[in-house]
Symmetry: none
Subunit: 204 residues, 2 copies
């Protein structure tokens, strides 16, 4: 239903977004024509109809500036639990008790996280993941090679970059001081995939 936009339609949509970001108001047909360089207001009308038909905006008929953005409009917020601490160095602690929850809106990250983990240790600092950071994790039991994953070995949970070979998996730290961990494929349990990071320098 929501087919793709043409270049020109995309430009008009961007123009509407800019207007709203700029003034808080949606533009009129005349304003769109002005910004886009149309001689006729109807050119703008045509584009708006196309954008509505393709599901990107909603037009409120007979209302001034009655253009409503639809696609990225629905950010519903969700409280995500911090389910525990995860070692970025030596694996230490298991995923267990919910310490507290943090409001994470849908749409903050491209992939929707399932829960948050507080990072302990410094084995991922070269990947920009520091001690104390919160990482957003999407629950998954599979992962592709190269992704940063939350993995469980025995009863311990750790965050590392995953490298998959034929029959074995390697958990790669991002810190020269640590050694890669090689695990037989059947002993490795993927808990989830790293989909975002939140850092608060003022949280202790």
């Amino acid at each position: 239903m929501s087919s793709k936009l043409t270049d020109r339609q995309q430009q008009v949509l961007d123009c509407i977004r800019e207007c709203i970001a700029d003034t808080g108001m949606a533009p009129t047909r005349a304003e769109i024509a002005d910004i886009m360089g149309f001689q006729s207001k109807n050119a703008a009308s045509d584009h708006l109809r196309a954008l509505e038909r393709k599901g990107f905006i909603k037009l409120h008929s007979d209302r001034s500036r009655g253009i409503q953005l639809l696609d990225n409009a629905y950010w519903s917020e969700e409280e995500l639990p911090i389910v525990g601490k995860v070692a970025a160095g030596v694996p230490i602690e298991a995923i267990e008790n919910v310490e507290r929850t943090v409001p994470v809106p849908q749409g903050l990250f491209k992939q929707r996280p399932t829960y948050l983990l507080k990072v302990q240790g410094d084995s991922m600092i070269e990947a920009g993941i520091f001690d104390g950071d919160l990482i957003a994790v999407r629950k998954s039991n599979v992962a592709r090679s190269g992704e940063i994953v939350v993995a469980r070995i025995d009863e311990e949970v750790t965050v590392k970059t995953l490298k998959l070979n034929k029959s074995s998996a390697t958990l790669l730290p991002a810190n020269e001081a640590y050694e890669p961990i090689k695990v037989p494929a059947d002993q490795l349990i993927i808990e989830g995939i790293f989909v975002g990071l939140i850092r608060d320098p003022n949280s202790f």
Copy 2:
């Protein structure tokens, strides 16, 4: 200047907020009158003038639905603007146009950010700030030594760790490949303080 609102004025302001949250459009005088139960559109006009005089909204004259919620009102919810890109390497780009907005809840960071900046360059990688990261910035024109700040030199904006001496300031990169920038105290303008970081590995 921004004196307090009367109960009725507060109600009108809330009504405007709701309208915008609901439909994306500001209400007309007639719609406000309708929602509030006024018999006359002018009652709404009067309230709008009062709200503008007290600094809560901006009225765009002769424009339909030309009601703009001002600073304290507009972004106080959750949507924070990404106001531009900032160089973490060599300063390149100025704070300017709003690209898009991202929903950032109140309690996500200890200090409430005013806006977000997209980081360009790698001069802060040892501080865990990577190219493409969004940094949350609280607007401020003062900062303490040791804080990570967004600073403006001439017309260029950059993010660095601030070190203050007697009469001069030093902007310290977190990357061995870059040199500290020493600036006379009067040529340095602090734009804001780093209060949080958001990274989305899937955003591109």
